[in-house]
């Protein structure tokens, strides 16, 4: 599974990361090396192994349906790069 520059461009787009041409070339090489190392795993036969998502064997952690205090509107917006009328403002979506 060799990594191509096209793959890197696709992935950068998915991850919403603007990349220059030089960066694409550099990352293709670096990521390719890392993936090559990761390929080691394919040597292991894991056909009868269950995946382990959590190191802990936990289940059913629930909380009561009881209202707790929210932040104030000011606190919510306090770190907002651009706010307007109690909302977060973002540039056009389409």
């Amino acid at each position: 599974m060799a990594l191509s520059e096209k793959d890197v461009q696709y992935v950068a787009k998915l991850a919403r990361l603007e990349v220059t041409e030089q960066e694409v070339a550099k990352y293709t090489q670096q990521l390719g090396n890392i993936l090559g190392y990761i390929e080691e795993m394919s040597k292991l036969d894991t056909s009868n192994v269950e995946p382990l998502t959590h190191p802990l064997d936990m289940k059913n952690v629930f909380r009561e349906d009881v209202v707790k205090p929210s932040l104030t509107q000011n606190e919510v917006l306090s770190n907002g790069p651009e706010v307007q009328g109690g909302h977060f403002k973002v540039p056009k979506i389409m």
Partner: protein, 486 residues
């Protein structure tokens, strides 16, 4: 190829907001309509470092939905992250369920003109809602022409159950019936307000068509932004016609999302949709699996009230109602319960039902009254039914008495007594009145004898008038006929 040669294939995805007190992963309230960003905390704002904790009540409601739709409840269920970028999504992923939903493999029975039909329910899973965006600037305040958007996260994190039907639906009527039945069930089990205007019930439709008799599915489109069941029906009808026209031209239907435009009554392509989203689903590492105890799952099933379908069948059987009447009375749980109390105190449940669906419904609508506002109880309405059945009063008089009952809460028996409305059913008295009317209307008598049977109505009317409406109309009719035919 003619339009009738195509068969529509429709699947519906309904998002139902749960009426828990708090959001799915934090203690913020779920109330609708408050000022922007006042029901938000670090968790539902997606601030760095925050973590979700599952609302047990939401799981309970979700399982109840599963039971009410005849689903299997998963032995092992988990939450997954659905990753995509949109400004209403604070974490840039939605916590949802991918391959191990809480409920799966159920069904819902619907009743249409053609009869009963079973619509499969693929799954009903738990997920969190996104915030709300207002599109502003630009020409119309709509997404495709706005300069900027404003984000409010009050709604972000509210628990949703997404109910996905199998593509078993074959017409817009069936779709409408499915939605109505589903809403009724959700209201019966009291898990949601099901208010489409407030967004606590939302529907997307997947629509495709294929040549009748073929098995392969056609390309489907997803229709969004339909804010009422009526619009869902219209949008589906439009889309079926649109796709048929496309195929007839020899072109292909494009797989895409389309918006229902209420001003132009069309579905429109949502341009800007690039490639299909790669959601990169993976198990949510901040939450642990849901492995519900079987006794608990059974307990939730036992806690369900009698559902609309079962109640309808029972009403038909126990009270001799037609399927249609039973359907009307069970559409809302409170109405069904009100009826059932009455059905037990009256000798004529069917008659009782007719009064409810007729005059009572009409007055409630006109005067904007709800069941809790009524000034009378079922016993009093039953009294009225009995009076009519005993022919103490005729149907016209009964309508008058009903108004007193509705507006004043007056006892029908009292009203009849006070107003001296008791129907006159004494043959001698009626004969006397009939003789008088026949004598006063010789030409009409001639017409009748000449073959115009219909004029009898006029004569009955005259007798009723003369008796101030108190004469027994059936008897009047019989006596007039007897006299004229002799």
């Amino acid at each position: 190829m003619a339009f009738e040669d195509y068969e529509p294939v429709i699947g519906l995805e309904v998002h139902c907001e749960l009426k828990t007190a708090t959001k799915l992963f934090c203690g913020c309230p779920t109330t609708f309509g408050n000022e922007a960003n006042t029901q938000v905390c670090p968790v539902c704002l997606g601030l760095p470092g925050t973590l979700p904790v599952m609302n047990g009540k939401a799981v309970e409601f979700a399982v109840k939905i599963g039971h009410s739709l005849n689903c299997s409840i998963a032995d092992y269920s988990k939450m997954d992250r659905k990753n995509y970028y949109y400004p209403d999504l604070p974490k840039a992923y939605q916590v949802s369920q991918y391959d191990k939903p809480l409920n799966y493999g159920g069904h819902l029975d619907i009743v249409t003109k053609e009869g009963t039909k079973r619509i499969g329910v693929t799954r009903a899973h738990l997920e969190e809602d996104a915030g709300k965006l207002v599109h502003a600037g630009g020409k119309s305040g709509r997404l495709d022409s706005s300069d900027y958007s404003l984000a409010d996260y009050n709604r972000g994190g509210i628990p949703l159950v997404e109910i996905v039907s199998e593509p078993d639906i074959r017409s817009s009527e069936e779709a409408h019936a499915y939605l109505t039945a589903l809403k009724s069930i959700l209201l019966y089990i009291d898990v949601s307000d099901c208010n489409m205007e407030e967004g606590s019930l939302r529907c997307d439709a997947n629509v495709s068509i294929r040549k009748k008799g073929t098995e392969k599915f056609g390309t489907r489109t997803e229709i969004k932004n339909m804010n009422s069941f009526k619009f869902v029906k219209q949008a589906i009808e439009y889309e079926i016609k649109r796709q048929a026209a496309v195929l007839d031209k020899g072109e292909r239907v494009i797989q895409e999302s389309r918006l229902w435009d209420v001003t132009e009554n069309k579905t429109k392509s949502m341009r800007s949709k690039e490639e299909a989203h790669d959601y990169r689903y993976f198990p949510e590492p901040d939450l642990v699996p849901i492995i519900l105890d079987k006794a608990y799952v059974q307990k939730l099933k036992a806690e369900l009230p009698e559902l609309p379908g079962a109640k309808r069948t029972r009403f038909e059987k126990d009270y001799g109602l037609t399927a249609y009447d039973a359907g009307v009375l069970t559409a809302e749980q409170e109405l069904a319960q009100w009826f059932e109390v009455g059905a037990k105190v009256t000798k004529n449940p069917k008659g009782f039902a007719n009064w409810m669906m007729g005059d009572m419904a009409a007055q409630m609508k006109e005067q904007e009254k709800e069941l809790k506002d009524l000034k009378f109880d079922q016993k009093k309405l039953a009294e009225l039914v009995d009076l009519v059945d005993a022919e103490t009063i005729n149907s016209k008089q009964a309508k008058e008495v009903f108004l007193e009952l509705f507006n004043e809460g007056a006892s029908p028996a009292e009203v009849v007594k006070t107003k001296g409305m008791a129907q006159v059913s004494d043959p001698k008295a009626i004969e006397a009145a009939v003789d008088k009317v026949l004598a006063e209307n010789p030409n009409v008598v001639v017409d009748y004898k000449g073959g115009k049977q219909g004029v009898i109505g006029f004569l009955v009317g005259k007798v009723m008038q003369a008796s101030q409406g108190k004469a027994n109309p059936k008897m009047v009719n019989e006596i007039i006929k007897k006299k004229l035919d002799s």
